[in-house]
């Protein structure tokens, strides 16, 4: 496939990897913000191609991982209601709430459906006028235009049985929070290419400036990620701290005006709780008052009080690069891929799941 295969070319990759090794004269710690990049790093084993002392920290850039326990519990309540068809992206289905996940709700009778696109949820609402369709509108800036469109179409089409449970996150405030933390180890960032395809990257200039840290807008294929790392290492080696765009073929400085306009129309900025990280001011989106009829939170009475996250999961520490999965008391014990306690154990590329896979191979060996 064009624009995929050539960015996975072994010769090209090994050249860039060599160039990184040549360029890095001392240890660096770089955070790839985005879960999609983490995915590629784990799947292609990119860390094996990097110098030993170049550390990648897997950031909090996965909407599935950072959606707060209170919101997930809300989702579980809604999904269990007999009149509701609850639509969600597939990767959200296995994320644990306080006591269970969406798949368990489905198994005990909830009508939970995995959708590929928010437009499918709109269609399901049109096709089931006698049911309440709730769409779990999670995401970062990349997904916001799609979710906004769903709300916008629902309004234009006069749907009375469609609503969104919104859990939207904004990246720049999270970068700011990470940089502000007293024990921050991150020295450079790979910013999320697709977030910037929507938003552009002007927002990152003041951050780079303020924290004197290089930020490289980076794509998702192995060659992109390695090039992003190279650009970041170069800045670090040279003492620069600018914003660079590795992902030029997709990202323009100003982003996508139309998409941003739609997001503006439907959402406004709000404080947001990040699972494992905590509250970050102005780091989320909520529906504007004009769309309050589509707000699932308003449409359905709150049945439970938001729980404290007392699972003991230290995912926030892990996502901020402060601790390793093996330091978690539940790792490989109560928390396993088939019974995750926290989001990093859910997807194959989650930091905890990846560590678990390696550990298991070791342990089996010792038998």
């Amino acid at each position: 496939m064009k624009y995929l295969d050539e960015y996975r070319n072994p010769q090209a990759i090994s050249k860039i990897a060599d160039e990184i090794a040549r360029t890095a004269s001392r240890p660096w710690t770089i955070m790839e913000v985005c879960g999609g990049q983490t995915h590629a790093i784990v799947k292609f084993g990119l860390e094996q191609l990097l110098p030993d002392d170049l550390e990648l920290v897997h950031g909090p850039g996965c909407p599935v991982c950072v959606t707060s326990l209170a919101v997930i519990d809300r989702a579980l309540d809604l999904a269990a209601r007999p009149e509701v068809i609850f639509c969600s992206f597939g990767d959200m289905l296995r994320v644990p709430g306080s006591s269970r996940d969406l798949l368990s709700v489905k198994a005990t009778g909830g009508d939970v459906r995995a959708v590929y696109s928010p437009l499918q949820a709109v269609k399901i609402a049109e096709d089931n006028p006698g049911r309440e369709v709730v769409f779990f509108a999670i995401g970062f800036e990349t997904t916001a235009p799609a979710n906004a469109m769903a709300a916008c179409l629902a309004r234009r089409r006069g749907l009375r049985n469609f609503s969104l449970l919104v859990s939207h996150f904004l990246v720049p405030p999270a970068i700011e929070a990470i940089c502000t933390a007293p024990d921050c180890r991150v020295q450079g960032f790979l910013a999320a290419g697709h977030v910037c395809a929507i938003m552009g990257y002007r927002q990152y200039l003041p951050l780079a400036e303020r924290f004197r840290i290089p930020i490289v807008v980076t794509g998702f294929e192995p060659l992109d990620i390695l090039e992003g790392i190279l650009l970041c290492v170069r800045q670090l080696e040279q003492g620069h701290y600018g914003v660079e765009n590795q992902y030029v073929r997709t990202v323009q400085e100003a982003g996508n005006a139309r998409a941003r306009q739609m997001v503006e129309e439907v959402f406004d900025v709000d404080n947001q709780d990040w699972r494992g990280v905590g509250a970050i001011p102005d780091s989320g989106l909520r529906l504007r008052p004009a769309y309050s009829q589509f707000d699932a939170r308003l449409r359905f009475p709150n049945e439970t009080t938001p729980p404290a996250d007392d699972s003991g999961c230290i995912s926030g520490e892990i996502m901020q690069g402060r601790r390793k999965p093996a330091e978690c008391p539940y790792f490989a014990g109560r928390c396993r891929p088939e019974h995750p306690l926290g989001a990093p154990m859910v997807s194959t590329e989650g930091a905890c799941a990846a560590y678990y896979r390696y550990r298991k191979a070791e342990i089996v060996d010792e038998h």
Binding site: S104, A107, T108, C328, F331, A332, G333, R334, R336
Partner: protein, 345 residues
């Protein structure tokens, strides 16, 4: 850091679709919940099929799926049924039941404890009847696409006797032996259904039938035909055999035992016990000159202790079943068009 798994699979509240995905959940379901109930060398091969040396050239092969609701009923459960049903089909060919396969279709949401109970019961039934469950399969279907648990078993038995046991061997003058009272399984299941609310001592007759059959064969009794009575009851079994054999069968209603609870429930609902399902009863066609001996042998086994002669194959060659009732008149038995439904009229 905890290295062993403190969470055995059965503490999952319910079956999830992932249990049928072939992934980790599937693997743990099979190794932790299913396999322990059936441990044997063939299963331990952990292959997708079993290699068998049944030690004979003539084997018997059969299958049945079990879809009973409720899964547990007075006198039995789906697990027992799934073993006995197939064991009985093998026995009806005169075979010694040896190997079973077990294929599960689980509905998402099934409590693991329910599955465990059913499997434990299967394991017990397999041990009791001396069959080995040697290969299996597990699928999970979405909620609303199953009824908790369906079980399929296929069975392999070995013919150790040269006797051919089949409908076409039914001969004029053969006596028809029935192994006990009828209708208990169907009524026990129906009595537990919503709305009927019987306070009832009805218990299914669910039982394995290889022992009495092999007792006959081992004693050298000529057995022309055997049939276990399942769906459709005694009447349907007789009609099917009359048709397959091309013979007229005559049975005496007075000779057919019906327990008091079955009679009571049938009267109340307007059902005919002749058409009610059984799971531990069979009929045997035996030449008249061996019938007394055969009856004594059957009566010597626990499961067929109540055996009696209920009729005979006549010399008529109209393939039909005549029922002589207690008051001296006759009626023809036929299949029911569909299932029996409670009547008001």
């Amino acid at each position: 850091m905890n290295t062993e798994c403190p969470l055995p699979v059965f503490t999952d509240e319910t079956v999830r679709v992932g249990h049928g995905s072939g992934g980790e959940l599937s693997q743990r379901l099979i190794s932790e919940l299913i396999r322990p109930h059936f441990d044997n060398p063939w299963l331990r091969q952990a292959h997708d099929s079993a290699t068998l040396c049944p030690g004979s050239e003539r084997i018997v092969f059969t299958t049945d799926s079990f879809v009973v609701s409720p899964l547990f009923f007075p006198g039995g459960d789906i697990g027992e049924l799934a073993v006995y049903g197939t064991v009985n089909d093998l026995a009806m060919s005169g075979a010694v039941p040896r190997f079973l396969s077990c294929s599960l279709i689980l509905e998402e949401g099934l409590p693991m404890q329910t599955l465990d109970r059913a499997l434990a019961s299967m394991g017990r039934a397999a041990r009791d009847t001396g069959v080995q469950l040697v290969t299996g399969d597990t699928k999970v279907v979405e909620r609303g696409k199953g009824d908790g648990l369906y079980i399929n078993t296929a069975g392999i038995g070995v013919l150790e006797h040269s006797e051919v046991i089949a409908p076409e061997r039914i001969a004029p003058g053969d006596l028809i032996l029935l192994s006990g009272d009828i209708g208990r399984h169907g009524m026990a299941v129906m009595a537990t259904r919503e709305g009927l609310e019987f306070e009832s001592p009805l218990r299914s007759d669910c039982a394995p039938l290889a022992e009495p059959v092999l007792a006959l064969l081992n004693a050298g009794i000529t057995v022309h035909c055997l049939r276990d009575l399942t769906r459709g009851g005694l009447a349907t079994a007789l009609v099917e055999l009359a048709e397959s054999a091309g013979r007229e069968l005559v049975v005496e209603e007075a000779a057919i035992p019906v327990s008091e609870p079955v009679q009571g429930a049938c009267e109340l609902l307007g059902l005919d016990p002749l058409y009610v399902a059984n799971e531990g009863r069979f009929i045997a066609f035996v030449p008249a000159d061996r019938a007394v001996e055969a009856l004594a042998i059957l009566q010597g086994t626990a499961v067929a202790a109540d055996s009696r002669v209920i009729g005979s194959a006549s010399t008529g060659h109209r393939p039909r079943v005549i029922m002589r009732n207690t008051i001296g008149s006759e009626r023809l038995l036929d299949r029911l068009p569909g299932e029996q439904l409670p009547r008001i009229c």
